[in-house]
Amino acid sequence: MSVFEGFRFRRVSSPIHQLDPRVKFFYVCVMFVIAVMFNKLLPLILLFFVQMPFVWMADVQREWVRSMRGALMFAFIIFLFNFVFQYFYTEYPQLPSITLIEYSLSMTLRFIVLVESFSVFFLTTSPDHLGLALEQSRVPYEFCFAFTTAVRFVPVLAEEAQTIMDAQKARGLELERGNFMKRVRNYIPILIPLIVSAIRRSLELAEAMESRAWGASEKRTNLYVLKPKRPDYALALVSVLMLILAIYAWRFLPIPSLTTFLSF
């Protein structure tokens, strides 16, 4: 589950943490668009390194590396799928070509770039901030609340799942035993208590919310108000410039592929 470790917010302060989440989200979206635009290796490698300064500025290298390591397995699966399927569809009797290898590698790298940017976003944005950003983007408060609550309860549920696993192991349950179907069935004793307690908890939460006057006033006010500052505008500008540059490169520049490099 180490991929998820890389998405869990830690309460530290850095220039990146203090950015307006809306701007950060815009930056992530730009990264997403650019990553999807290109399917050559070179621009994606560039994109991968462009984000490095953010990781360093936010001082989340350790968590970030952990999430990247967690993503490796998925990345490998993506590579394998792309490679194997493309190969058998197009070039089967011959040896796989460089183009095909580059294509599969780019797809993998594209995934890694996406994980990278989302991981930086979630590592540096507190759930409260995220909720606030949603709210101030005029998303109905019910949705914002549901969203922040969901995010807030993920670690709680993860911990509870661990306890339940321990409790069932203490009763002789062996999760790793048996064939595939047996292994799936082994998870029933863990899932049922987990679901039951999640339902119980949500009912309790609803009661607690109502006793604290949930929805009593139409227009809610907030103690904290998000106001974009200079660094926010700077990041927004950088994102827009990157997007323009990427569109320009995509439209007019010949992107060298792996074969051009190899033919030198």
């Binding site: 306890t163 002789g172 062996e174 119980r200």
Partner: protein
């Protein structure tokens, strides 16, 4: 016999829960592990059935390192009743719930039947045999969880916070039950905050603070020692507090038992009980 040899344990998130703890629990002992929240009590007992493996040091159960055997095979010897029964109940009937572990351990079908009947009657749950465990009250669910562990007759029984959320009568029943288990030769280990409960049981007490043991001995000696008890953020039991206050009358200060206290008080007043 459980031997804990200089054990350190650090959780994956970096929290150091045990810092060089050593402990020896003989067969047939009755031990209460006490200490403040976060002292590492539950972490320690989770080492006894291999749910957690020491980062440094070693835990031996009957001479075998817990590192070398699976949780399932250790659990056969060391039964662990978790604090919250809702973390383990999942079957449609109480009967199935109790039989779950027996099936995991590979008991024969007729042995399972016999043991389920025995465990249910032991805890007064026979009438709920076909009831869903989710329909029962909190105390009853706790008893189902206990029955589901006792059913396979483990040599060591660990109870994590057994008294939480129980009324006085249930606690008294539980106490008698634990004492009875111990009298049958089982090693009983309880993890608890409940000083009065421990005072009534009078077991060996292991006090923990910050991942280490701060005191180890009979309840009577440990729980009446203000300094030691304060280090583990515990208040002495009421009887002990009274007698610590009456020290200048020349009364003994190491008392935790109500009946003994009454006898001594009456004696000192010159009244024959």
């Amino acid at each position: 016999m459980i031997e804990v040899k200089d054990v350190y344990f650090t959780y994956p998130n970096g929290v150091e829960a045990l810092r060089g703890l050593s402990l020896m629990i003989q067969d047939g002992e009755f031990v209460a592990i006490m200490g403040q929240n976060g002292a590492g009590k539950t972490t320690l007992v989770k080492h006894f059935n291999g749910l957690l493996k020491a980062t440094r040091g070693e835990v031996m159960v009957d001479g075998v390192s817990t590192r070398e055997v699976s949780v399932a095979s250790l659990a056969r010897k060391v039964g662990f009743v978790f604090q919250n029964p809702d973390h383990q109940l999942f079957c449609e009937t109480v009967e199935e719930e109790v039989a779950f572990a027996l099936r995991n351990f590979g008991f024969k079908e007729n042995a399972i039947k016999r043991r389920v009947t025995w465990a249910l009657s032991l805890l007064g749950l026979t009438q709920y045999r076909q009831t869903s465990p989710f329909m029962l009250s909190g105390g009853e669910r706790k008893r189902v969880a206990l029955a589901s562990v006792l059913a396979w007759n483990p040599k060591v029984v660990i109870l994590d916070e057994p008294t939480i959320g129980q009324d006085y009568q249930q606690k008294e029943k539980l106490r008698q039950f634990i004492v009875q288990l111990n009298a049958q030769g089982k090693t009983v280990i309880i993890v608890t905050h409940d000083v009065e409960f421990v005072a009534e049981c009078n077991p060996r007490v292991v006090l923990m603070a910050q991942g280490k043991t701060v005191a180890d001995g009979v309840a009577k000696k440990i729980l009446t020692n203000y300094d030691v008890v304060a280090r583990a953020s515990i208040v002495p039991p009421q009887i002990a507090q009274i007698f610590l206050g009456l020290e200048d009358l020349g009364l003994p200060t190491d008392l935790i038992d109500v009946y003994e206290a009454r006898r001594i008080l009456l004696n000192s007043l010159g009244v024959s009980p």
